[in-house]
């Protein structure tokens, strides 16, 4: 009696083959006291998590063929946890994103790098949800959570679906959860960084806090006004209470911020304001937040 090959052996081989196929796109990212992973996004451009990249000092990358290259920081966006590096000289094959299999319950692999060797992890897609805003107000296009533990060095690795196609970058979220920054977010943010060196941030130029209203409800009161900012130019004054944004009621600073972050720099918005009990409408053209 001849034994047929185990289905587990076949699955195991398929998983290992998927890692081998993706690993040429993955690099190790070496920065001051930090080792993490990243991947080749475009020729000469590497994406890695902002969180794992040191705040200062030199950066190098190690390719899957063992080539070590100096890298320079193009820009970083802590709001979406995306940093973009530039390195030249090596053989770099950009990853091609594209997956239609990102569903809860689906299997996934993370392919990261430790020096030039692949570092793999395997698990389940726990949850797939709508777009969400990070603590710093960055928009992440899809919420993808995995059930696998991700070691720090594997942060920045590619998340791959059951067909071996990459769908995002694996990072560690709060409390050690493993999240995926989806391809759409990476392409958008890395594209802005490649073009401008940073991600423009819509700016109002006012210091706000939540206040309860005399007649019930709440609003966002302008406690301070940046003298050279867009709000001052549009006529917002200290003590004004913002109640609406483009005719939509905003009851607190959080609601205002969500709309602000979703509106591009240069857009003129109408704010409904209560000034000394009297309703006032103001047109304010959003600026780009000054550095620092």
């Amino acid at each position: 009696m001849t034994s047929s090959p185990s289905p587990l052996a076949a699955l195991s081989s398929a998983l290992a083959d998927a890692v081998t196929a993706i690993s040429p796109h993955v690099v190790e990212v070496q920065s001051h006291r930090s080792l993490a992973s990243g991947f080749i996004w475009r020729d000469g451009l590497i994406v890695t998590p902002d969180e794992t990249l040191a705040e200062e000092g030199g950066i190098a990358i190690e390719l899957a063929d063992g080539t070590v290259l100096d890298a320079t920081l193009v820009g970083r966006d802590p709001a979406t946890d995306v940093a973009l590096l530039r390195a030249t000289g090596g053989q770099m094959t950009p990853v091609v994103f594209g997956s239609d299999a990102v569903r809860p319950g689906g299997l996934t692999q993370i392919v990261a790098a430790a020096e030039s060797a692949p570092l793999a992890a395997f698990g389940t897609i726990v949850a797939v949800g709508p777009a969400w805003q990070s603590m710093r107000g960055g928009t992440i296009d899809t919420r993808i959570e995995l059930d696998l533990p991700l070691r720090r060095r594997a942060e920045g690795g590619l998340a791959v679906d059951g067909n071996g196609r990459a769908f995002g970058m694996a990072v560690r979220g709060p409390r050690g959860r493993t999240l995926v920054i989806p391809a759409a977010t990476i392409d958008r943010v890395a594209g802005q960084i490649a073009e401008h060196g940073r991600v423009p941030v819509s700016y109002l130029g006012a210091g706000l806090r939540d206040v309860p209203l005399d007649d019930g409800g709440s609003g966002a009161m302008a406690m301070t006004i940046d003298r050279d900012g867009p709000a001052a130019a549009g006529g917002l004054r200290q003590g004004d209470i913002i109640l609406s944004w483009q005719d939509e009621r905003v009851a607190h600073v959080g609601a205002l911020l969500r709309r602000l972050r979703a509106t591009p720099v240069g857009t003129t918005v109408t704010l409904g304001v209560r000034r000394g009990g009297v309703p006032v409408e103001l047109a304010i053209t959003l600026g780009d937040r000054p550095a620092g």
Binding site: P78, M135, G137, R209, D210, A220, H252, V253, G254
Partner: protein, 124 residues
């Protein structure tokens, strides 16, 4: 409900940042028949916290430095920018940011802005 009744006293955990208020609540619960305060590490039947969630939400309250950090975090500043504003190194800022995010995230998806706006001014 039957299991609660069978166990006797309802066990209450107090999650309030202010020590005086927590002590007062503890005294009142101690005087009330059928209620008692949870021992350290004991599973509580009920949690007592502030309705607005500003502080009661946190298993551990924010330190003064973390209160500074949360507003800057809500404004979307980088660790380097937060460090610059507070006169600390970017790495130290990063450490505080991590602590704040873990505390905020204790209830799942949370909003730094909502918490920060109750504590002070956010510059947008």
């Amino acid at each position: 409900m039957t299991t609660l009744a069978a166990r006797g006293d309802l066990v209450v955990s107090i999650r309030v940042a202010e020590p005086e208020l927590a002590a007062r609540l503890g005294d009142l619960i101690g005087q009330t028949r059928g209620l008692r305060v949870a021992d350290p590490g004991e599973q509580a039947d009920l949690i007592l916290s502030r309705p607005d969630g500003a502080e009661g939400h946190f298993e551990q309250p924010l330190t003064p430095r973390e209160r500074d950090v949360i507003a800057l975090l809500a404004e979307g500043l980088s660790n380097r920018e937060i460090g610059g504003r507070l006169g600390i190194s970017p790495d130290t800022a990063k450490f505080h940011v991590g602590r704040v995010i873990d505390k905020l995230d204790a209830t799942g998806r949370t909003d730094a802005v909502a918490h920060a706006a109750r504590l002070g001014i956010i510059r947008l």
